[in-house]
């Protein structure tokens, strides 16, 4: 593998291929890619597709580390292809595969639906018992900077699935919710606008919840956005223990700057959009 004066060199890409319609099992295919300094794995895959093998498929979108589409296993570590410069991780051979702990749809594309289903089961939205903000929006919620900091880090999650791929518990027990859904449960539990802790603790404290986490920490190790899901899960364990032993009273949800929740809609506040899903009751 020669390197020229500009630092360009040939890198051997070993890419995991699998077409369920034609292949009995996944296999490796090798490609040699001329890599310049600064090229990302995503750039390398594009080069392969454009010049060598148009059949190779993978997910990508923003190419700047904010959408989470291009999560894959790069040199044994789940991470984003767009965020990984090739020459930062190797100077000879680069292995690229789909995220582990997921079924493969094709080549480097994992089936993320189970992850999203688990995410949805954790009710990842602001939930209040006092009123439905969508039906009668009163005014802005207000939060102190300290209240914002409590959940801000966990809101950076882009749902790329890297943490799910790295989790050793999920590797053995597919029923485990996993780092991302649990971290998002905690994100909303500690949001002072939210009042859904009692509903979510049934999920988080259940048989597929935080009790299954052994704090391996690999999820936080691989997270490309610094979300630290392992920390979120441990904090949630603490909150569940405090709740069960009644050691700490939870504060009520924060109010709004404007009038009381059930006040008449203020002039100028538009009607809410129609519900997009069927309402029960």
């Amino acid at each position: 593998m020669d390197t020229d004066s500009k630092g360009t060199k040939d890198i051997l890409f070993v890419v995991r291929r699998y077409n369920p319609e034609t292949d009995g099992a996944p296999y490796n295919q090798e490609y040699t890619v001329l890599v310049e300094p600064g090229m990302t794995v995503l750039d390398g895959l594009h080069q392969i597709k454009n010049t060598q093998d148009a059949t190779l498929v993978w997910r990508f979108s923003c190419r700047m580390g904010v959408c989470g589409s291009c999560g894959m296993l790069i040199n044994g570590k789940p991470t984003l292809a767009c965020n990984t410069q090739i020459l930062h991780v190797t100077d000879r051979v680069l292995t690229v595969g789909p995220l582990p702990n997921f079924e493969i749809i094709k080549d480097l594309i994992p089936d993320l639906q189970p992850m999203f289903a688990k995410h949805i089961s954790g009710r990842p939205h602001i939930h209040r018992d006092d009123w439905d903000p969508r039906a009668a929006p009163a005014d802005e919620y207000y939060q102190t900077p300290e209240e914002l900091i409590r959940f801000l880090q966990f809101s950076y999650c882009i749902k790329c699935g890297s943490c799910m791929a790295a989790c050793p518990t999920l590797a053995r027990d597919k029923s485990y919710l996993g780092p991302m859904p649990l971290a998002q449960v905690h994100r909303y539990n500690v949001d002072t606008r939210d009042g859904g802790f009692n509903e979510r603790k049934k999920i988080a404290g259940g048989s597929a919840g935080v009790a299954r986490c052994h704090y391996a920490g690999e999820c936080s190790n691989v997270c490309p956005k610094g979300v630290d899901p392992a920390r979120a899960i441990q904090l949630m364990k603490r909150d569940l223990v405090f709740s069960y032993l009644r050691l700490k009273k939870r504060k009520g949800v924060c109010g709004t700057i404007g009038p009381a929740p059930h006040a008449k809609r203020r002039e100028g506040v538009p009607d809410p959009p129609p519900y997009t899903i069927e309402q029960k009751g």
């Binding site: 485990y176 404290g205 259940g206 919840g209 009790a211 299954r212 364990k237 569940l240 069960y244």
Partner: protein
């Protein structure tokens, strides 16, 4: 929430084991230092010393407590390990039954031993 409750007791049991297990270690291995728990001198497990400790009600109580928390802590941990090997609902129910039944049997047997020793 049930699993989180079990986990809470698992952690609390671990703390109790630290204390009672530590006391057990002190009794067994530091008997020469104080002679507190081995008043007849010699080894902590010499018959006279064992009988003397068994006569004091506090020892059977603490040993039964240690047995209970250790069984719960250990069997709950074993349950988690077995569940993570990946098993269906039916197998999980079977594991629960076996571990609970086994734990209760062992607790009953160990408690009987401690109480019987006290009665000697």
């Amino acid at each position: 929430m049930r699993e989180a409750q079990f986990w809470t007791w698992h952690v609390l049991a671990g703390v109790v084991i630290l204390v009672l297990g530590g006391l057990h270690m002190i009794t067994m291995h530091l008997d020469g230092l104080w002679g507190l728990f081995s008043p007849f001198g010699g080894s902590a497990i010499a018959w006279d010393n064992v009988a003397e400790r068994s006569r004091q009600i506090i020892f059977p109580i603490l040993y039964i407590l240690l047995l209970g928390v250790a069984l719960f802590h250990g069997f709950y941990g074993l349950r988690n390990i077995l569940f993570e090997l990946g098993c269906g609902k039916g197998v999980r129910s079977l594991i629960n039954f076996v571990l609970v039944a086994g734990g209760l049997v062992l607790f009953a047997y160990g408690s009987w031993a401690a109480i019987a020793a006290h009665a000697v």
